[in-house]
Subunit: 333 residues, 4 copies
């Protein structure tokens, strides 16, 4: 299903080369100011065109269909659509016989019986993350003063990211990267034990972003190599501040008021300018495949703003859920 | 919320030192043979008592309240409960003033206003994974011939796991580990693009298991250091078999018919036999804390069977969801 | 699925003649006092034994498995189970060949492939409403000062209910009835436009109660015979009080602060002491059927407390959802 | 929340006088042929303009944003939007001080803190049912050979509906009506015991349609006046055909293979051409209100096609859910 969230709930739709894409944001409280210009910064961060990203320039002008009136949310669902343009479908038609390695072409055909919109990845396209970013802009405003910030901290195994990208462009290859996301001003008490732990819900949302292969919270995989005596974060204030933050701001699935910290691994873009081998499903024989199109050398460059949006959406939902609990206490039961 | 799944849906309840724990499994089709003895093997794998695990021996006798009649599922919800016994609540009462580092004590009190059952971790206790294992036994039968197998591949940073455990016992400390899970006989087409991708739903469920700090699929974090030309798995058969499996059996969020492979990081047990510093919330001063109780030196030793259960539950749900699609095709639309 | 609710969420399980029945109540805030004795009054109202109800006396002693500690809710899921006793399964075994008219016997066998627990209606049994009543007791406390009251206002077409029941007993037949439910101290603003309107969610829950064939809000079916000039309720105070209440306390799906009023129709009990015709599925011929067992002459006598519980559960969920909205306003966005 | 359904799931958005309205239909299987012209008939049935309906002519041209490719569903979410036009917002602005009796004006302002789009009913508008009808067209195709048919059988208390409408127009008043819906070619086994009974889920969806005040299945409210010996439908064939159909095609919440039959009561349109009293919220005094705009004399005339759509959407979801069960049986467990 293409929906996510309990109270603050998003539903995405669209295909890369169809009429357009969009998102419905349900459960946003009434009274939040949202202006057209609020979207500009994050849309620009996601946009392609910079070195290491595809030269395909998409139309990123949002059409706000509903839910915002006089620049304020109404409490009704907010629908935002984007038209598709600058699509070159001819690049993709011939690929049906030779599914691109690393892409969803093969599984899509199998799953949808050959009826899928195969052009440009169709519904699997990264183009749909534009809707997520739009929802993220609204979610970020809603969760203020919580602040979400994601940064690419490593690309192609190197911390000199610009050099790594240059090298990959030169080699006509693609590279992956690691992004760290940090949320500051966290309250204590978001998340639930077990199925709706902060890690569980965040990772669910984060793996919705194409190309992500791993996620770790706080000490993450390093935790597996540490001793308990090292790994336990000492509580040093009655607000719950800890001396270290190996837990990444979460205990028992619940936020503990320290910064929430996690990292994700982004795989190298599957499409490169090099020829590769794949099965030709018409002939049943291996064949050479060159993917013309326009490719991102390092898609990880464009992921941080999407990751922030995904995170803000999850936090908005947690914040709205947690109001209940606090309020009930105030009623003094 | 304490429920997970769309069609095959589990709901857990219980506390470590209350009357008992249990699980409701809804959406299991009628007609699946389930006998009392089917639970024995996986319960034994989860049970403590072996070297490196706590000497607390729990009562693991399931009471099947509903949903199974004459050793066959009826199609009604299956409720399984377990009584608690062998609990030593006195170990925990004094800890209220001095929340244990790494545990949920502090966040639970903040979140639930001091009304939480604080004994032995209460609802946050790993004791509740017993219900998951029970559901996993049923899910494994349902998804046959798919086969789920999880193994501890590293503990305390070492592949010689027995030695690592011995050392930690000697040091009165605790260690973490890494577990790999592999599912064989996978069909093509499980999972959905975006929010219900295989990675998204699996990671959601997996992070419900206490002590897990990271998850990676296929090449995982290594993908971030690879080039696209290396990372793409070549399709070498019309069934979709690939020459390598960096994707971990998933493209675009959909299973591609190759083995599904992922790894999780388990942190070292938070309770150890060493004294630690923590805040005393009554005095507002730092204090020494010794946690008496009985502890697992390496909780990761007991996680593989829980991880298998979590995985089987998710796969059962995906399998039941996917039937729709296939069937509609057969109706020839 | 056997769950209902978004935040205050119940999951029921059990069969009439199996080991027991029960309910899990998730999402109840921590800090609500709940004592064993709180259940007595409503359990007694639901209990059989009075004139017009079956002489089968069930065991109605709740076992609180989890979620309540020191007589206060903990915020963790509350599981309550009831053992079955005083079951006479021999009454039912022979009925498999001759499904009882008006009962679920035929559809259950078809739906569950013959694997259903057919004894005493199995999972379809009114016995399961005991769990609803338990959840209702908690929900009623939670929604205080809202007050839910349901009354049987008509039985067998007569307002003299006792006389109607006496006549039906004499005739060895059964009768239906109409129950009115009124909720006082309603706030303005519960419910949502469209799918989660108060009428929509309430009717969903109410039709879960066996034997209910219709529901109407406010003027209900009479509205279809009224003119707009008569039917509109005049607003006569700034709090929204109206001069009449044809709307039943709801406009546009949202509570308007006036009493919430609705009525349900309960069909006559399907089992009577008279012989009836039905198909014998073994012979394929029509046959006479006498249902021995123990029957309610007028099941509608026992429904009001179940209806109150169902209503309180829905209102508890609406109340918890609506806190969000109000609170966000208070943050002054 | 503005979503409904488990597998076949719709999400609606939009306001009467905003940019537009629309619907997202998720979970529709790939491979279903859907052409632009398929929508014409049902859109015409819903359209206003005939005697007894408002002269406001809306733009009903669907824009299919996603999910359909080459006139066939792709398996991805289907988004359909409609632009608003021919809106006269000036009719509504002055009404803010004097909420219209019978409308959602008062509750909307209270619920959404005054931030709601108040023009023409905003998100509460019947205009949004256009999206439901669009989804209904697709659902009807999906559930073939099941056939849904709804008819207005009574208006203003009369079976001569044309005469009743004429009289109401003459009196400058409005009238309600009763609509009967019948589904033929029903399979046995749709629906679940308790919370997801056919009656429960259908009534939930049906009460989403504005102006509906009651629903009854089969004998409905008459059941409350019947005896068990009359009311039980005799099973007269091994396929489950019954001699009568007081149950309305449902036993124990599950379809029994006979026609599914239910009726709904539609209240008279709240807006009429007569002056009415209401509270002026600025002055705090009662005042006269004349609602200019354009009104439906008998909105019930336009409801049958919406009711069919709502019903088909629910049945599509039940059909997709039930495939699972049958299929599992075929695997021979």
């Amino acid at each position: 299903m293409n929906s996510f969230g309990k109270i603050f709930r998003v539903t995405i739709f669209g295909e890369s080369h169809g009429n357009g894409i969009g998102i419905v944001i349900d459960g946003c409280p009434a009274g939040l100011p949202v202006q057209f210009s609020d979207f500009t910064e994050d849309f620009n961060r996601r946009r392609s065109g910079a070195k290491g990203t595809t030269p395909r320039k998409e139309s990123d002008i949002p059409k706000i269909v509903s839910g915002i009136f006089n620049d304020i949310t109404t409490g009704a669902p907010i629908a935002v659509t984007f038209e598709n343009s600058n699509t070159r479908s001819r690049d993709y038609a011939a690929l049906r016989e030779t599914p691109r390695p690393g892409h969803a072409d093969f599984v899509a055909t199998k799953k949808f019986g050959g009826f899928e919109d195969y052009r440009g990845g169709g519904h699997f396209s990264g183009r749909l993350t534009l809707g997520l970013v739009a929802a993220g802009v609204i979610a970020k405003k809603l969760i203020h003063p919580l602040r979400v910030e994601a940064k690419l901290i490593e690309a192609g195994g190197s911390h000199d990211i610009e050099k790594a990208v240059d090298k990959a462009i030169e080699e006509r290859d693609s590279i992956g990267g690691i992004i760290e996301c940090r949320i500051t001003n966290m309250p204590v008490g978001l998340g639930e034990p077990f199925f709706d732990s902060v890690e569980a819900v965040l990772s669910h949302m984060v793996f919705s972003i194409p190309a992500i292969k791993g996620i770790e919270f706080g000490s993450g995989f390093n935790a597996a190599r540490m001793k308990g005596s090292e790994h336990n974060d000492k509580i040093i204030s009655v607000e719950g501040k800890t001396s270290t933050n190996y837990a990444g701001g979460i205990n028992g699935g619940i936020s503990n008021g320290n910064d929430l910290v996690f990292r994700v691994a982004v795989k190298p873009t599957s499409s490169t300018h090099q020829a590769q081998k794949t099965m030709n499903f018409k002939t049943g024989k291996m064949t050479d495949l060159e993917i013309e199109g326009r490719h991102d050398t390092c898609i990880a460059l464009r992921v941080p703003v999407v990751l922030e949006a995904a995170t803000a959406i999850v936090l908005a939902d947690f914040m709205l859920q947690s109001q209940n609990i606090e309020r009930i206490f105030k009623r003094g039961m």
